[in-house]
């Protein structure tokens, strides 16, 4: 089984020391957990006013490992010139998706600029990933004022951009959300990365698998911010068919990356 991690990062984090945040460190962890490829974005880009220099830096970091590390762009929809940056990320930097940090960068997921950015990414074949959070808010640094993105906000976005592929990173509570209750979202192209959910005891992952099907669940670890083994363990412990496991482990994210032009 080929594992592709849909939720990794590169670069330092401003609020605490994160070990192994460079490409070599991440690749060592990927080897240890038998993960063949990882989708990565720049952690510093989430905090910068202009994320484009960090996107360029990310492309340099992954250049020697491009067969295993697949870069995603971080863009802010209110920053002047994001259309030019999006084009450069796609054409010059060979990026394959978009990540948005609405709470860190101070924008709404449903304002017209954001909707235009998400639609523009879709026209490139990109998925748009939205991390719910970068850290647990209960231990937040005094300079970290970002709240968690809510599933309701993402549902609002999904209703407005039904043609776009969305991926929710660090998702929690989806099995009791509008995504399983609201018929208007039944056809939404929204996937959920499952590293924060439980496979045993609370059994959120099996419940979500029952309710949404295997096409909308994505393996991820959150490395190097998070302990990588948790996501791996949750996938390994999931009692499901080989076909379902293969979809969650890698085939679903591979499909999205191929739409974006990844071989």
């Amino acid at each position: 089984m080929s594992r592709i991690d849909s939720a990794c990062w590169l670069g330092p984090y401003p609020f605490r020391h994160v070990p192994h945040h460079d490409a070599d460190g991440l690749l060592r962890w990927m080897d240890r957990h038998e993960i063949s490829q990882a989708v990565v974005s720049s952690l510093p880009a989430a905090f910068h006013r202009d994320p484009q220099p960090a996107n360029t830096e990310l492309a340099r970091w992954v250049a020697a490992h491009r067969d295993r590390l697949i870069p995603c762009a971080t863009l802010h929809p209110h920053f002047p010139g994001w259309r030019r940056d999006l084009k450069r990320c796609s054409e010059d930097l060979q990026m394959r998706g978009l990540r948005l940090f609405p709470k860190h960068a101070g924008f709404s997921l449903t304002d017209p600029h954001t909707l235009e950015l998400v639609r523009s990414a879709s026209e490139l074949g990109w998925h748009t990933a939205i991390p719910i959070r970068l850290e647990d808010r209960r231990g937040r640094h005094w300079m970290d004022t970002a709240l968690e993105v809510t599933l309701a906000e993402i549902a609002d976005l999904a209703r407005r951009v039904p043609e776009s592929e969305l991926l929710v990173i660090d998702a929690l509570g989806v099995e009791n959300s509008a995504f399983v209750r609201d018929p208007s979202l039944s056809g939404a192209r929204v996937g959920f990365e499952v590293s924060r959910m439980a496979t045993v005891l609370q059994k959120s992952v099996p419940q979500l698998l029952d309710r949404l099907g295997p096409d909308r669940l994505f393996f991820g670890t959150g490395m190097p911010l998070k302990v990588g083994g948790a996501g791996v363990l949750k996938l390994d412990l999931l009692q499901t068919s080989d076909e379902n496991r293969a979809l969650i482990a890698g085939a679903n994210i591979r499909r999205l990356l191929r739409q974006a032009g990844e071989p």
């Binding site: 231990g139 937040r140 496979t199 045993v200 005891l201 609370q202 490395m223 911010l225 302990v227 412990l237």
Partner: protein, 259 residues
């Protein structure tokens, strides 16, 4: 590697935790290779705990112990605000029913003199006290749990009662864990820290070992099953240290019992 979970809960009384039957706890433990789990049912949510409710909680734990005698160990939850009732409950559970220790929640900070009679009785019995804890930094959390103990309160009690076996709950349970580790460096050999909780930060367990050493760390899940096991298995620490944390340290604590 053996795993003994020193901080877990069972369903029962008024405390539904998110599973329907405690057989699910045993099933999860089986799948993760956890041999035994030390469990309790505290009154949570910032609520006061009347003696009758405390007894109901402990009776539910006792029911679970009888149902899974080879897998579960029990903590006796008490509200130290009812001194006589709390001491009676310790007799009923720890002395008469072989519970292995006492569980405190956030009805009082552990350093409050109201708690001292409970601590003194636990010293006499040679049993540990596991207490809910966290260095809460978010105003919402602080308002919800104004009397939550942090590492500073534990160090204070550890200095007053160095012979008491104290377990600070869930370093990964939410809150500023780096501050907690800084403070716990001031603690003595009988002040332990459990490694449970849902905060998934990489490098946390390595920092725990660097800060207070593997002798004072105890593996636990507190219901975050996969995440807590992965935290221990992924940690870049020696196999000797991992084994100490996984079960040896807690087994040694259980051996301190005097009754």
């Amino acid at each position: 590697m053996r795993l003994i979970d020193c901080h877990m809960h069972v369903h029962g009384g008024m405390r539904p935790w998110g599973w329907s039957d405690d057989a699910d706890v045993i099933e999860a433990a089986d799948r993760l290779g956890i041999e035994k789990l030390a469990v309790s049912i505290p009154v949570t949510g910032g609520r006061w705990a009347e003696p009758a409710e405390v007894r109901d909680c402990n009776d539910a734990v006792y029911g679970a112990l009888q149902r899974f005698p080879d897998r579960l160990l029990g903590y006796c939850f008490v509200n130290p605000g009812f001194t006589h009732a709390a001491l009676d409950e310790i007799e009923r559970c720890v002395v008469d029913r072989s519970f292995i220790g006492v569980k405190l929640y956030n009805q009082y900070r552990i350093s409050d003199p109201t708690v001292f009679p409970v601590i003194e009785r636990c010293i006499e019995l040679g049993v540990p006290i596991l207490s809910h804890a966290g260095r809460l930094v978010d105003p919402v959390d602080q308002a919800r749990q104004p009397l939550c103990s942090d590492a500073g309160h534990f160090v204070e009690v550890n200095r007053r009662y160095p012979e008491a076996t104290l377990i600070e709950g869930h370093i990964a349970g939410g809150g500023d864990w780096e501050w907690s580790l800084g403070m716990l460096r001031e603690g003595g050999e009988n002040l332990f820290l459990d490694t449970s909780g849902s905060v998934p930060d990489a490098g946390m367990l390595e920092r725990c070992v660097e800060s207070i050493g593997p002798d004072r760390l105890l593996f636990a899940t507190d219901m975050t099953m996969e995440g807590s096991v992965a935290r221990l298995l992924d940690a870049e620490i020696s196999d000797t240290a991992r084994e100490q944390i996984a079960w040896r340290n807690f087994e040694a604590i259980l051996g301190r019992r005097r009754i």
